[in-house]
């Protein structure tokens, strides 16, 4: 009753019913993997919700940041501890959900014409989400994240020509940590980055609605799926509920980022086993594996951290960003596609994707090489050289192997369409014996 009157009131003034009709009747193609992006969206909503609460309790002054986090995250605080736990877990899961969603888009070819731009929006959001996470976990000014900031400062310093200036702007002063550092991080983390991500999500979904969703159906001229109301709406609300439930379970049972144990950041203390959150770990791994050679160009030194710390991630993201065009160039397929492919249908894509995943995984694992060495009691240097060789050879081997497997699967699927001629169906009879089933007539 109330709903009907409200809708009527709005329609009389704005004529919204036509729009509402279209929105409620919109058909959403149906596949379990289409929910991955929604999980990312819901993690983002949780991050905004809990983040707003945290800004009220957080003191962005460099002197008081750590203390204010300890106070709001004290175990006897009525809700602060739980909210901070949920916020951090949501951040860890948010980036993971984006990456998993992106893998689905990649391996099913959903990025192909006409959706190249939306793919680029997505890749940009992955980059921004990682940045948001990094600036966020660096805010408490604790011993672990302070070490990460110091590394980021050094990487910024290594940029040729503008390094000193860039590092100074980042650190908020000529020295590290500058007096404005926490304020800069706060502004980035609380205003600039989330607002940009929010705007890009709007663009992402707007393009999705405008260009229509891709689907796994043979006939490209027919959209098969569920109407928004009531089928799809209830399912997506269930996905939201599942997201909230998983976060609540994580936050309740698993401690995350215990800044109290890490102590406040003091530049002269670097703890053993210090690693960043997982989405930044590949950078740490790259720094650990990168060669310690300094190149001089016209007398200007280029520090060794420049290559693994900046060039490698930039090249990787550029490659991801431009992948739709690279693939179109490689395959010569520039036709528009609304129907998805099974991953194994395109061995080239499987090979490139597997190689990229291997590279990312290896660099991430390399970020914990000291812990691996201590756990397995092997020499640290041995691990470093092992990882270095795997980094150069692994992607080629893994990529070729994955492409080969995809080709085999594709070939077998083509054969398997009709059963081999000598196949028989065995049926167990009432006496416990086995008989060949009579072929069905017709």
């Amino acid at each position: 009753m109330i709903v009907r009157r409200t809708v009527g009131w709005l329609d009389e003034r704005f004529g919204t019913n036509a729009l509402l009709h279209v929105a409620l009747k919109k058909i959403y193609p149906d596949h379990w993997s289409f929910y991955l992006g929604e999980f990312a969206l819901y993690f983002f909503l949780v991050l905004v919700g809990t983040g707003v609460w945290l800004t009220f309790a957080f003191d962005a002054g460099a002197q008081n940041a750590y203390g204010s986090v300890l106070a709001l995250a004290a175990r006897n605080h009525p809700i602060g501890y739980e909210i901070r736990q949920i916020h951090h877990w949501a951040a860890v899961c948010f980036v993971a959900a984006i990456l998993v969603h992106m893998s689905r888009i990649f391996f099913t070819g959903a990025f192909r014409r006409p959706r190249e731009l939306n793919w680029m929006v997505g890749v940009t959001m992955l980059l921004l989400a990682s940045f948001t996470g990094f600036t966020g976990y660096s805010l408490p000014n604790d011993g672990l994240s302070g070490t990460g900031l110091r590394i980021a400062y050094s990487v910024a310093l290594s940029i040729p020509l503008i390094g000193r200036w860039a590092a100074g702007v980042f650190a908020g002063g000529d020295d590290f940590p500058g007096p404005q550092l926490t304020t800069h991080l706060y502004t980035l983390h609380v205003y600039f980055l989330p607002v940009t991500i929010g705007a890009l999500i709007a663009l992402h979904l707007g393009l999705l609605v405008y260009q229509k969703h891709t689907q796994f159906v043979r006939d490209p001229n027919r959209v098969v799926g569920r109407r928004f109301w009531p089928d799809y709406a209830l399912r997506t609300v269930a996905a939201l509920g599942a997201t909230l439930a998983v976060l609540a379970l994580l936050a309740t049972f698993f401690e995350i980022n215990p800044v109290g144990d890490y102590g406040p950041y003091r530049p002269w203390i670097v703890m053993n086993g210090a690693v960043p959150d997982w989405y930044a770990a590949f950078l740490e791994g790259a720094l650990r594996l990168g060669p310690a050679t300094e190149i001089r160009i016209a007398g200007h030194p280029i520090p060794p951290v420049f290559w693994p710390g900046l060039v490698l991630p930039s090249v990787t993201f550029l490659f991801l960003l431009l992948w739709p065009f690279i693939e179109a160039r490689l395959t010569g397929d520039r036709a528009p596609h609304d129907v998805l492919e099974k991953p194994t249908q395109v061995p080239l894509r499987v090979g490139v994707g597997a190689a990229l995943i291997f590279e990312g995984l290896l660099l991430t694992i390399a970020a914990g090489d000291d812990q691996t060495a201590a756990t397995l009691h092997v020499r640290l240097d041995t691990l470093v050289w092992l990882y270095r060789s795997a980094l150069l050879l692994g992607p080629i081997v893994v990529g070729l192997l994955a492409a080969r497997i995809a080709m085999d699967v594709r070939a077998r699927a083509a054969e398997g369409a009709e059963p081999p001629p000598d196949a028989v169906m065995l049926v167990r009879n009432a006496h416990g014996g086995y008989e060949e089933e009579e072929p069905q007539a017709g």
């Binding site: 596949h31 860890v92 599942a242 703890m271 053993n272």
Partner: protein
Amino acid sequence: MLILTLPVLLAMLGTAPSGADIYVTKCESCHGVQQWGSPDGPSLHHVGLAEVDFYLTTGRMPAAAPWVQVAHRDERAGQQLPLAEIRALEAYLAPVVAGGPPLPEVISGSDLEHGHRLYEINCEQCHAVGGNGGSIGRSDWAPALHQATIDEVADAVRAGPGEMPRFGERQLVQSDLDDLAGYVMAMQTMQPGSGGPPFRSTGPVPEGALGYVAIVVLIVFVFGYWRHDRRETGGRPK
């Protein structure tokens, strides 16, 4: 045969062996007749009782062989001497090792906050947050402190075994040592307070892995739902 083994049997039945006997049977082959060492083991002169006590009480010595268990505590080696024999051996070696850090006295300090600060400044670089230990380059690693007793902690701080630096009275006064050792002991038993989660964090690596587990749980959820939907509608979406 019986005549040969009889003295050994008698010795086993009798009182605890003297420090000199233990030295001859367990230590001499590497550390030498007069404790000046050999290619297999260092000299013991002036190393100090703290170091001797550390190696003996943690079971690193006597070593099954010069390359076994010395660098880390390994209960499986099963070589650890009973406490009475350790004390006898220490009494025997005391004149030789004199000159190094003596056996420290330690009580569990009460100022945990101060102990934590000392731990952050002096220990965390190698033994990591929570005493988890870690690699310190090449094939060396700092051991985890989860099983260390308070006396072993004090021994290690004063003696600096292996790659570990020595922390003398000028770095850590007696009350510092007490607070630090007290903090390490508290760290071992630290339980989450009221309302805290039951599983304590061991760093960003397992945290990230758990994040992916959460995503997999969500995928299983929607996949199950989707399969259920398809079965309800006869294998085709409505």
